[in-house]
């Protein structure tokens, strides 16, 4: 018998999409029965009370979680988000309901052995509810009490050898696309790069020392499957700079209808016969593809690296051999100054172990941002306030036409004294010799 009536939430059990309400209920039931005899370390009714407090929010249209509360594990500034209910008498099971972020393996592959082990910790020491995964990529354990935090940390780091992720004004848990593990478009090893930098910067990840949060994300190609350019301060996006490789026989097979275009992505509808001219040549933003006499050719110098032709004919076209990544900086969500996408800083960089070039770049940017960034100012906002030239200066990168969509509209140029012949030191008396007062 459920502890609270939840007539509104119950309506979310119907419909085909997996119901979180049904799932929380099944966890509530398992906890109540506790057939495995687990020594539950937080209240047995935590799942029931979560449903209860959520039902209350559904009926009155407002959240019932209190603001903040600083909790964490010894020596770390991040990884745990404190949470308290504002109706603790009514819902004692969730009076304390803190979130624990656990670092995810890059690419989010798991063995069932590992998953079962971390679940074992969580059903005993937490609510048994999770987010797989949090927005940043961490495994998110939803809901435990303060005395359990060190215990969870101890078991995670000793029994399953995994650490907490980031939260607060620090490096957030870096995330990558699945990259070379299963994608033929990956221009570098996103997982290896992500892992290496995550390990290198554990201190920055766990001990807040930044003006605000900082995120790296690693996309293996311009398709952007982890949305690096939209949501990371330092976005690494795979790219090639030589020729797209072409298999003419496979091109013919697409034209002939033997291979489905776009790997079969449009199979649900009759779009008519594949028209290579209309669907590939005409849509190429570089206008650099020709299809003549049954042969496809690309003027690679004009290619914009958009991935469209490759996505459309994955068996005929392949990324080039000279591979690396572009680095873009400064993406963020609207708070405070409106949303920003990442801006191109390095058009091409080799991304190879030990990733020294990447690290040098990151550290130069951090030094500048930590010096100049205001409290709660993301890198993108610092860039906007101080100017893109400042970023070039601190990273020692030469300005390049690729850095802009178009050159500036206004001639209010901040020349520096040493850029002007004779510098700025002038004598007013000398001037007056030439010009009367």
């Amino acid at each position: 018998m459920a502890k609270h009536e939840t007539p509104l939430l119950d309506q979310l059990e119907s419909g085909p999409w997996p119901s979180f309400v049904a799932d929380i209920k099944q966890q509530a039931e398992v906890r109540a029965k506790n057939e495995e005899g687990i020594e539950l370390q937080i209240p047995e009714e935590v799942c029931d009370d979560l449903l209860g407090v959520l039902e209350l929010s559904y009926s009155d249209g407002e959240t019932h979680w209190k603001h903040g509360g600083i909790v964490g594990v010894f020596g770390y500034g991040g990884g745990v988000i404190g949470r308290y209910c504002d109706q603790p008498e009514q819902f004692p099971g969730v009076a304390h309901f803190h979130t624990v972020r656990v670092a995810q393996p890059n690419g989010k592959y798991y063995t069932t052995e590992f998953l079962r082990n971390i679940m074992k910790i969580w059903e005993m020491r937490g609510s048994g509810l999770t987010n797989m995964h949090g927005s940043t990529g961490d495994i998110v354990f939803l809901g435990t009490t303060t005395p359990q935090l060190e215990e969870i940390f101890y078991e995670l780091t000793h029994d399953v050898e995994v650490d907490l992720g980031g939260s607060g004004s620090n490096l957030r848990t870096p995330a990558s696309c699945l990259g070379k593990s299963r994608c033929e478009y990956a221009c570098y090893d996103t997982q290896a790069a992500c892992y290496d930098l995550t390990m290198e910067y554990q201190d920055e990840l766990h001990r807040p020392a930044f003006p605000y949060k900082f995120k790296f994300k690693f996309d293996g190609c311009p398709n952007g499957c982890v949305a690096a350019m939209a949501r990371s301060d330092f976005s690494v996006v795979g790219i090639w700079r030589d020729e797209i490789r072409i298999d003419q026989e496979a091109v013919a097979a697409y034209v002939g209808g033997e291979f489905a275009p776009n790997a079969g992505a449009h199979s649900g509808r009759d779009w008519g016969k594949f028209d290579i001219q209309k669907e590939v040549v005409d849509l190429c933003p570089g206008k650099c593809i020709k299809y003549e006499d049954g042969k496809l050719s690309i003027n690679d110098k004009e290619c914009m690296h958009c991935m469209h032709c490759i996505n459309t004919m994955p068996r005929a076209l392949m990324i080039g051999n000279d591979r690396g990544a572009s680095i873009l900086c400064g993406a963020k969500a609207p708070i405070l100054d409106g949303p920003q996408l990442s801006s191109l800083l390095v058009p091409f960089i080799k991304v190879e172990e030990p990733f020294d070039e990447l690290k040098e770049l990151i550290e130069n940017i951090w030094d500048w941002w930590m010096e100049e960034g205001k409290n709660r100012e993301r890198l993108g906002e610092t860039m906007r306030r101080m100017g893109f030239q400042k970023l070039l200066e601190v990273t020692g990168i030469e300005a390049d036409a690729r850095h802009v969509q178009e050159p500036r509209h206004n001639p209010y140029i901040f020349w520096k004294a040493d850029e002007v012949e004779g510098s700025w030191d002038r004598d007013i008396n000398e001037y007056r010799k030439r010009h009367q007062r």
């Binding site: 070379k180 997982q191 849509l283």
Partner: protein
């Protein structure tokens, strides 16, 4: 419920402490066929919605079956995933950035049994546990945030809105019937933990009433200068207020300057702004992140306010349904929602979807607003 110690000793917190060990290394978790062909994949194909095959240069194949999930999931549910992976996939599985779960097998013979097993599993109440889809020119799972389930600043729920939208778009999840991928995101407040600013369709919780001020407690709970500095529009200033004969140090808010962002509340719990009538949803469309054909772009607000109507948010789902249907009918193959809207012009977008254009859709926040006004006589009647 006796306390069970893990071995941690609070008197000597540094004893045997393992700090900064990071995540487990990804290659411990790769299925053997993936590990063997790492970096040597030749091509992939989507055999049917939700089912991919990747073919390696060696000739090896891996078949991935992608299933939607609610993201908020229980240990019981995850153990069920583990059972499936043990039974069919040699004990490996993976999650995607969009909160799908993928089961991988190394031969085609194993796909049908896996598929049948996944589709046979249902929650009490009848919803699928593992609906198959989320690939190609369709709707994948919704990236979303915490909402009323776990956050202190939401203006709407996330798990609930996601559930009702995905129920509505279930055929688009299990099918390839769109002109191009349609990516949806839900963020329950402007912090956008779930990041909406570049999605084809973005659901964003918004407040519409300025913060309440808890005068008698503010100075005890908050740093007044922090609350003042937090406001992007300078609406908050220090002040004094007399309540029942006692003078309190507090803040005053210039209400007409407030854009309801909630930053002051993030800095100061004595400035709550949630309100059942004030809160609701702004609907945004036309953003994208991939560089394919056109450049990444921001989503644009097309409905300034939709009320919260829990548990099933009918106005929200109906509006999304309309947009998806018109887009699906009118757009060209490969054309993302935002590219379509730009091609036909936003005046036509509003005409064709029947969404009313209002003054709230004209930007008035700082410099970037100016770049969104029309400075031309090139427009359509």
């Amino acid at each position: 419920m006796a306390f069970v110690s893990s071995g941690y000793n609070p008197d000597k917190p540094m004893e045997n402490r393992n700090s900064d060990i990071g995540p487990r290394k990804f290659d411990e978790f790769l299925p053997p066929v993936i590990k063997k062909n790492f970096g040597a994949w030749k091509y992939h194909e989507i055999l049917e919605p939700g089912i991919l095959v990747h073919v390696a240069e060696s000739g090896d194949e891996v078949y991935s079956v992608r299933c939607g999930t609610a993201r908020l999931m229980s240990v019981v549910h995850i153990k069920e995933m583990c059972d499936i992976a043990d039974k069919h996939c040699d004990g490996y599985l993976r999650f995607t950035t969009r909160n799908n779960v993928e089961f991988m097998v190394d031969s085609k013979d194993k796909v049908d049994a896996l598929k049948a097993d996944l589709l046979s599993r249902k929650f009490n109440g009848g919803s699928y546990k593992f609906p198959i889809g989320g690939t190609g020119a369709g709707v994948s799972n919704i990236v979303h945030t915490q909402g009323w389930v776990h956050c202190h600043t939401p203006a709407t729920d996330a798990s609930g809105t996601v559930k009702v939208i995905m129920d509505e778009l279930f055929d688009e999840f299990t099918g390839h019937n769109m002109p191009a991928p349609v990516r949806i995101a839900v963020a329950c407040c402007l912090n956008m933990c779930g990041a909406c600013h570049c999605s084809d369709i973005a659901v964003v919780g918004i407040h519409r009433k300025p913060p309440l001020i808890d005068h008698e407690h503010l100075d005890n709970l908050c740093e007044i200068p922090l609350a003042v500095a937090a406001c992007p529009t300078g609406a908050v200033r220090p002040s004094k207020v007399e309540v029942d004969g006692t003078t309190y140090k507090t803040v005053a808010i210039k209400e007409e300057r407030c854009m309801f962002c909630g930053n002051c509340y993030t800095m100061c719990p004595s400035l709550p702004l949630s309100d059942s009538e004030g809160d609701g949803i702004a609907l945004m469309v036309g953003g994208k992140i991939s560089n394919r054909i056109s450049q990444p772009k921001f989503s644009k607000v097309v409905v300034a306010y939709i009320p919260n109507e829990p548990p099933r948010w009918p106005t929200l789902t109906k509006t999304i349904r309309t947009i998806v249907d018109v887009y699906s009918k009118e757009a060209n193959k490969y054309e993302r929602l935002g590219d379509w809207a730009e091609r036909i012009g936003w005046e036509r977008f509003f005409e064709k979807t029947g969404i009313k254009f209002t003054k709230h859709l004209i930007d008035d926040f700082r410099d970037p607003a100016y770049y969104t006004w029309r400075q031309s006589t090139q427009f359509k009647f």
